[in-house]
Amino acid sequence: MSNVLEVTNLSITFDTPRGNLRAVNDATIALEQGESIGVVGESGSGKTVLSRAIMGLLPGTATRTGSIKYMGKEISDLPEKELRELWGTGMAMIFQDPMTTLNPVRRIGSQLTESLTVRLKLSKKEAHEQAIELLRRVRIPDPEGMMRKFPYQLSGGMRQRIMIAIAVSCKPELLFADEPTTALDVTVQAQVLELLTELRKEFNMAMILVTHDLGVVAGHTDKIAVMYAGDVVEMAATRELFTNMKMPYTEALLKSIPRLETPTGTRLPVIEGRLPDPTKNEPGCPFANRCPYVADKCRAEKPPLKDTGNGHLYRCWFPIGGEK
């Protein structure tokens, strides 16, 4: 199985008035065809910058080093014209706020058929029929009626489904979902995530799911990359990550999430302290000032990426449960 996506040693810095801001440090991720990876992190972790970098959507103030290969071909320095060719046919994206990605003054139908006629070179009639079929596929009631509606007439969940329909219309190899359900209600979120998983399996699409919610990735991804302060601090197959967690950060994150199972009235464990300043290059592990297991070595030297032996990567001098 060839790799759909190979990101190697990707580092991204921004030139800001306060200095050089390191948003992503040395990230390496690989995705096989049909595989899905969840990129989890909080604000400031670099997950959004990473996904935008892979998509090719970074602003001009960013400096990028490292390589991004899509289907074996280097795309990190492609001119925008060629990148655009890729978007829609090979790589598709859905974002958090469908209102800003959908054109508010055009009908749904025309937005759907546009990508079909432009990319797949279908005739208008064929595109129209395919669009209706797509709407049916994403479980929109009354697809014919929907074609004539405008985005403002729809709820968030509906709009997100339309986004998904547009995204998969050209059967892409790779789907980016950047916080696709963060703005949705929890019942709608569950439906949209299930829909994404179904479509992924049907079209054998690889997917990068960027989110801050560990619960969302737990049920819908094959593997997970946890990011903190610009580093990929842990990466493993989903079940392996949850059962054999190595990083104190991942453990602390998991513990601080309010759960339905927690008895009422328990005080939630909290990660004290704050993110390190991304403009300063301080030695040691970036999580050191907040880690409950911190030791002197952690403050002095930044831990390298290590492997447990079965593809579970982590960055810690004293991982939970030892080095295996």
């Binding site: 909080e42 604000s43 479980r139 009631p141 709820s155 968030g156 969940g157 509906m158 209600d185 929890v186 019942t187 709608v188 979120q189 569950a190 439906q191 995530l193 299930e194 801050h212 919610d213 560990l214 619960g215 969302v216 737990a218 049920g219 989903t238 079940r239 949850f242 602390a252 994150l253 998991l254 601080s256 999430i257 309010p258 759960r259 339905l260 927690t262 008895p263 009422t264 009235g265 328990t266 005080r267 939630l268 464990p269 909290v270 990660i271 704050r274």
Partner: protein, 330 residues
């Protein structure tokens, strides 16, 4: 679901708030009316934390603001500390405000970006003449420290220089400035990162214990709600579905909507799959809600009775009330 009723009211308790048949409707013109809150009754016993849970459009935020008369509800009564708020004149209502405060969802937008934090906190103290400038400054420092913020660092900065969590702390400090009796928290942690949520929830709990507050906690996140509340009220499309202690809502769910809500919460455990099959579709419009039980269009157990008759809240276990014609088995 979507019913009304007063079975869950507790007339014998030490109630600081009693809301009866509260209705909030917005006129959109051309005969269209948004029925955001329809005939809801609730009460608050001193010292408890009542959580109001529901998804967007259920009216929970509108309910919270209507209790504070911001703006006045369309009809119904709100009795706070034995005074009827809905019929008060502007001046008397204003006098009641220090006792009932609010914390908002968007931490950054709830602070005036032009003002330094010291001014933000000074405003309530100056409006109500709580001392001279020296005393006010001392109180500001005290409030900041109570919210786990360092006054020296924070005082002269503006809201956009802070993270969401810090802004929310400042909002909490502001809400405490007038020594309120009741604080309505409108989705206070929804806009925050997961690890920061825990900090703020703990802070709210600490403040509640320290200052003897009574809280109304509005949220769409059942898990968050369960961690902090003593009583939970589930809302749907302007009506109440279920009222119960948090454990009962989760472990002994009796309402179909609550069950769907519980089932949709993403669980950070790869072995536990969510079953989204429990509920499909989207909530109907609040302009033209379904007759009878408003949840019947998405309920797996709906019958004709549900279309004809609006269910009323009734007690199904001690302290556990459901508005449903065919509640789930215990």
């Amino acid at each position: 679901m979507a019913g009304s009723g007063k079975a869950h009211m507790r007339p014998d308790g030490d109630r600081i708030l009693e809301v009866n048949d509260l209705t909030v409707e917005f006129n959109l013109g051309r005969g269209k009316v948004v029925k955001a809150v329809s005939g809801i009754s609730l009460d608050l016993i001193r010292g408890e934390t009542l959580a109001i849970v529901g998804e967007s459009g259920c009216g929970k935020s509108t309910l919270g603001k209507a209790i504070l008369q911001l703006p006045k509800p369309t009809s119904g009564s709100v009795n706070f500390l034995s005074k009827e708020l809905t019929t008060m004149n502007k001046h008397d209502l204003r006098e009641m405000r220090p006792a009932m405060q609010m914390i908002f969802q968007d931490p950054i937008s709830s602070l005036d970006p032009r003002l330094p934090v010291s001014e933000v906190l000074a405003e309530p103290l100056r409006v109500w003449n709580r001392g001279n400038e020296v005393e006010i400054n001392e109180k500001i420092d005290e409030l900041l420290r109570a919210a786990n913020l360092d006054p020296a660092v924070v005082r002269d900065r503006r809201s956009y220089e802070f993270s969401g969590g810090q802004c929310q702390r400042i909002s909490i400090a502001r809400a405490l400035a007038l020594d309120p009796t009741m604080i309505i928290c409108d989705e206070p942690v929804s806009a925050l990162d997961v690890s920061v949520q825990a900090q703020i929830l703990n802070l709210l709990q600490d403040m509640k214990d320290r200052y003897g507050l009574t809280l109304i906690f509005i949220s769409h996140d059942l898990a968050v709600v369960k961690a902090v509340s003593t009583r939970v009220m589930v809302m749907y499309l302007g009506k109440v579905c279920e009222v119960a202690p948090p454990d009962d809502v989760y472990l002994r769910t009796r309402h179909h909507y609550t069950k769907a809500l519980v089932g949709s919460v993403p669980i950070p455990d790869p072995d536990r799959k969510i079953s989204a099959g429990l509920m499909q579709g989207e909530p109907p419009s609040t302009i033209d809600p379904p007759s009878g039980c408003r949840f019947r269009t998405r309920c797996p157990a709906a019958t004709e009775q549900c279309a004809n008759e609006e269910p009323q809240l009734r007690e199904v276990a001690v302290g556990h009330f459901v508005a449903c014609h065919h509640p789930l088995e215990a």
